[in-house]
Symmetry: C2
Subunit: 359 residues, 2 copies
């Protein structure tokens, strides 16, 4: 790897002069400049674009929309793989090992993103940590993005969708979305990916692993991790138990395959990735791939519109003060929430006409 | 109990002539008639009003709003208690036993409601089942309402809030809201009640019981159930273990009390209800009671407004067709969701002016 402040994705060589110049002071690039940078394979443009899309600052929103519009022709052409499992199952290690495997193909570019829900009660754990994927993070043809710290799960998912699109525009052919196996985030990630790989540990019941039945139902492929040394026999037993358990789970589509692997020895990794590839290839042949993307797209449209409608409504000039006054009346018990809502809607109707609130 | 089609809550005697008449064909009462019936203690008016509030039919919504307006002066004057625990912990049996205890006070009236979330993947279990609370359901001064089968959790919670208000208007002084201990529904129910009672089984770790740490954090009081016969010693041990565990859980406010009880022998029931009463009485003295209701009210206002804003937006004449066309373009890959959203917003702005979508 060249010592360079302007790291470029391969295919585009950094001009020697540029690479040797000292780093220029970082300034905000315009959407057009960012789009051009991403098309040219500039890693710093990609990073800056992702920060822009993740930003909740008012002033960044129009720029972010403009940027995504400019890159629309380069989106969609990748395989998006979700990887989940409880903390300790070895997600990062497996992703690093898979990345090594994938990058053997000199035309491959990989992005690793994380969806890390913070529950209202407990803070989520750290995913997509670059320090845990040291080798992969240092590769020119890999882009590892730690999870953004954001509020709602819905928000994280919709931002991640756009980050996926930016990585696709930058030429990434495989997008790995890492999430923690706690149930809620999987539902969100299932709406983002083409194939969902569930990692499980040998020698532990799934109750102990805290994996919900619903998560198993969502899996398109399963890998038993850490199948090496003394653990190898246990892993084989676990594989059979999981296969048996899968018969109990009502599920449409092809039977879910289960492989065993070890990120330490590399054993089984080819097979695990093979399961993912086979699933995707079959889905493309049967039309399930396109159907899944279509379903995800229409759901995304609706979610995006819901968020936008609310945002536009509450952003109306003067509304905040009226809502604050109404809230105060509710808090001191002078109005029921319904009556307070009526007052706000009388001043700020949604569609021009007044209707009494009826929800 | 009189054989009567018009069951009345006590305090108001059913006129003998009315009681002896054959049941009239059920017709839709007007909001004013329903409100008068509820004020007069008519059980059938209450049932009909609850069905109206739970209805998602367009034509019922204005009537429901009108009804709640008419009864606004009678709302809020009750103690609202949430009861949760995993299936098999004995929620129904305990509620029936507590109901028996409460109704010893001849001025008491009790309502039992259920919040039963159906997860997107697995169907929720049946709560508030009248057949499981046979004695209580047959009492004039008790009203047991099985859970409505509805879509989203948010929806269930907002309907349940209004059902609570209707029961209060009908004179119920204690409202018990039953829910299943799966995590998500508790967050919703915590926003509805003044005190949250968690039921736990003896002899099972809380992992085994499937109770999330977050649920324990939300509990205002805990009862170990089925503390009878051989189980009594185990229950006492469990009580100590729970008390120890509570020290680990960061929590504001007074220490959470833990009692043991048996619905079969009646042992400990007085004490369990005593914990609830003490919690509520102390909260009223310290101002926490009012503060909690105020917080719930302002959250409710915001949720209600969110639902209403979206509902009004999507109900606009002509929008459905435009959205369907845009969705079709997304599904066949001709437009990104963001571009499709822009098209819809250009035709149907929220606040009169057009802004490019930026979420």
């Amino acid at each position: 790897m060249e010592p360079s402040s302007l790291v470029v994705l391969p295919g585009i060589e950094a001009p020697a002069t540029l690479a040797r110049r000292p780093p220029p002071p970082r300034r905000s690039l315009s959407p057009a400049e960012l789009a051009a940078g991403i098309r040219a394979g500039s890693r710093s443009s990609l990073s800056q674009a992702i920060s822009l899309v993740e930003s909740s600052r008012e002033s960044d929103r129009a720029r972010s929309a403009e940027l995504l519009r400019l890159l629309a022709d380069r989106m969609g052409d990748s395989v998006r793989v979700g990887i989940t499992g409880v903390p300790g199952v070895g997600k990062s290690t497996l992703i690093e090992a898979l990345g090594r495997l994938l990058l053997e193909d000199p035309t491959e570019r990989v992005a690793v993103l994380a969806v890390d829900p913070s529950s209202p009660l407990t803070k989520g754990s750290i995913l997509g940590d670059k320090s845990r994927m040291g080798w992969l993070s240092s590769q020119d043809r890999a882009y590892v993005r730690p999870s953004p710290s954001r509020g709602s799960l819905g928000g994280v998912a919709s931002r991640t969708r756009e980050v996926i699109q930016l990585c696709e525009a930058a030429g990434c052919r495989t997008i790995i979305v890492e999430t923690v196996g706690v149930g809620q985030s999987e539902v969100a990630v299932e709406g983002l990916v083409d194939c969902f790989l569930l990692l499980m540990l040998a020698g532990a019941g799934d109750e102990v692993q805290g994996i919900k039945k619903g998560v198993i139902e969502m899996a398109d492929a399963i890998a038993i991790t850490k199948a090496d040394g003394d653990n190898l026999v246990k892993a084989k037993v676990a594989r059979q138990m999981v296969l048996n358990a899968l018969h109990m789970v009502a599920r449409k589509g092809p039977e879910v395959p289960v492989a065993i692997c070890s990120s330490a020895t590399g054993e089984g990794l080819q097979e695990v990735w093979g399961l993912v590839r086979e699933f995707v290839d079959r889905a493309k042949r049967t039309g399930d791939f396109e159907a899944r993307r279509a379903r995800q797209g229409s759901r995304w449209l609706r979610q995006m519109m819901d968020e936008e409608v609310l945002d536009r409504y509450y952003r109306q000039p003067g509304l905040e003060a009226v809502l604050a006054a109404a809230t105060h009346e509710v808090e001191r018990g002078a109005l029921t929430p319904r009556m307070a809502a009526e007052i706000v809607f009388r001043r700020f109707p949604v569609d021009g006409g007044y209707h009494p609130p009826s929800t």
